[in-house]
Amino acid sequence: MSGIPKGVLTAVKKVRGGVRVDHCKNTMDSEVVRIPTPQTVVIPMQMSIGAPCEPLVKPGDEVSVGQLIGDTEKFVSAPIHASVSGIVKAVGDVKMPTGVLAKAVTIESDGEMRLFEGVEPPKADTREDFIKAVRNSGLVGLGGAGFPTHVKLSFSPDKNIDTLIINAAECEPYITVDYRECIENSWDILSAVYTIKEILGFKKVIIAAEDNKPEAFNVLKRIADKDIDVGNEVRLMVLKSKYPQGAEKMMVQSATGRKVPPGKLPADVGCVVMNVASVAFISRYLKTGKPLVSRSLTVDGSAIAEPKNVRVPIGTMISEVINFCGGYKEQPYKLITGGPMMGLSVVGDDFPILKQNNAILAFGKEDAILKNETDCIHCGRCAAACPLSLTPTNIVRAAKIRDVAALERIGVNVCMECGSCAYSCPAGMPLVQYMRLGKSILREEAAKK
């Protein structure tokens, strides 16, 4: 067997920059619990990057868990399924956390959670069948970005893609659902890893986790160890816990030493990166045929009475999830879907849980205070923290004066908005916001041409 050494691996190449954030993994020991069936769910037809789905049901229809309720012909999109059984109450526009309107199907639950009779284990023996099955499962990247998984996996077999990287880094503070997935469903992860490896013909698989989660690591190691002897190339890799270790480009660099060029995908350097929870889901789906109708998420933050990990039907209202976690223990001043570094702060708790939401965080007054923006002192901390070798301070200057040439030269579009720069800025500048401003200037200029 070539290349890959035996035993636990360490990073091939260290990630540049990054920041050391407080881990705040308070819910590490909290087993994922299922919340009681909500009375109504609101299921938006846009829950992934790509095209929105068209609703396939109308008010008054009876639906059951796993029934297809939204789909589209477009390739970059994932179908949507009913997450509870009951009656469709409404099909219409609802406001999404980002502020845009999206079509959504509102279902009133009958409390029975009846499984749709059409749910049966899919045929997934060949490459085509497998990718079709992944598409039908409605799976999108569960790590937060929400990229449809079947798109990621449908690369041409002769494209020389050799490495599958399973991302269990979970470098965002607070979030522990991937960690719980590793501990509670490690066999699912391993069985899916072997299925995907075999069907899609990966030469090697690297399961990467940060060193601040030794328990998850030990569990995965015990399972992988058995196979190390048979010369099969599935390995664990321990990474130093540093934010943003779990970003896709950083993962590829740590695991293989390859650098994903600007505007390209990991597939362009022969890698596919999958979130550990997505992988575990594929294994369960292949066994049962039950599509993505619920997901685990971490509920935490200084304003939450009982922080815990919960499993909720897609479309459950945030307020309902928070009530299950004891409600607010103090007046919340900031509510975030996702992690504190890249998550989205929302205007209220009356939004549905989406497929890609991996956490709900609520913070009290003290944690919601915004840093006062003062003048840049050119200290260079932002540039030192940028894992993608950008110079945020120069991007800010170029964005403020709309210097298109400079924005292109400095490479604002390379920015993945990980927030390391803004985190470390002593002047409290909202650097990610400036990066977005710079990107939108370039988009406008491109549209003009």
């Binding site: 702060s345 003062t374 950008l390 409290g428």
Partner: protein, 327 residues
Amino acid sequence: MINGEKLTVSASPHFRAKSSTRKIMLDVIIALVPALIASTVIFGLRALMITCVSVITCVLFEYVFRKLSKKSTTIGDLSAVVTGILLAFNLPSTIPVWMVILGDMFAIIIVKQFFGGIGQNFVNPAIAGRIFMLLSFSGRMSSWSEPCSGFMNLGGADAISGATPLVEESENLPSLIDMLLGIRGGCLGETCIIALLIGGIYLLFRKVITPVIPLSFICTVAVVMLIKGRGDFTFVAYQLMSGGLILGAIFMATDYATSPITFKGKIIFGIGCGLITCLIRLFGSLPEGVSYSIILMNILSPLIERATTPKPFGTVKEKKTKEAAKA
């Protein structure tokens, strides 16, 4: 429940490090305290008085200018305090107080505020203030008081004019131990090498500065002087410890606004400072070159930074393929 209270909505990240401009400047001030104590011991209370005057006038000028130009008050970030201390450290303790005030005005108003305040100045305000005073009052700027000659002497008029080791005849040189302790003629904050090094280590430990600029600066001077002195280490030691080299390398050349942020840029900046210092010391008519070397490199700093800015992640490969396509 949310109780109708409005939630804060802001761009990510929602976590911020606890650092602030004020904390950074406070660290610099703390790092300068050992040197201030040393200068008070060596040159008497007048050194402390000059420093206090300089700090107060700097803060006052900044406050008044920002008020008059209807801009936000920035004295809370303590950067004017740092400028005040550094400018005072670059003056002889015998300097008349009105000259200090004039120098502070030049540093704060002309160099710092006229260009937009903190972070926008293109040269280090303290160094520019010192050079302004050197050109305007060259006599008073080089009349050093004898070290340890009257602790309580607050008046500057009866100061004894002495020379700094850089211009002195070799038989009158203070011992190396005296050099290290700072018992020699010179500007009030530059003489005690040990105190400055303690401050530098504190800044490194607090991660306020990186060692790149000070090391490349000092090493360049050491190497050039070693060649010039034909391997005479005593000569090198005198060169390193005299003048404002250590003060300049640790506290002035590392000024954020006027030095490059890139690693390679910092090395070039430090080497450039070192070379210009040596050229002035060895071939120039001025006794001291640290201030001029730093100010010249300050001006070059944006160009150095632009030339050394790394390519965004992953772009190197693309360039190679382009070259390959050309070939």
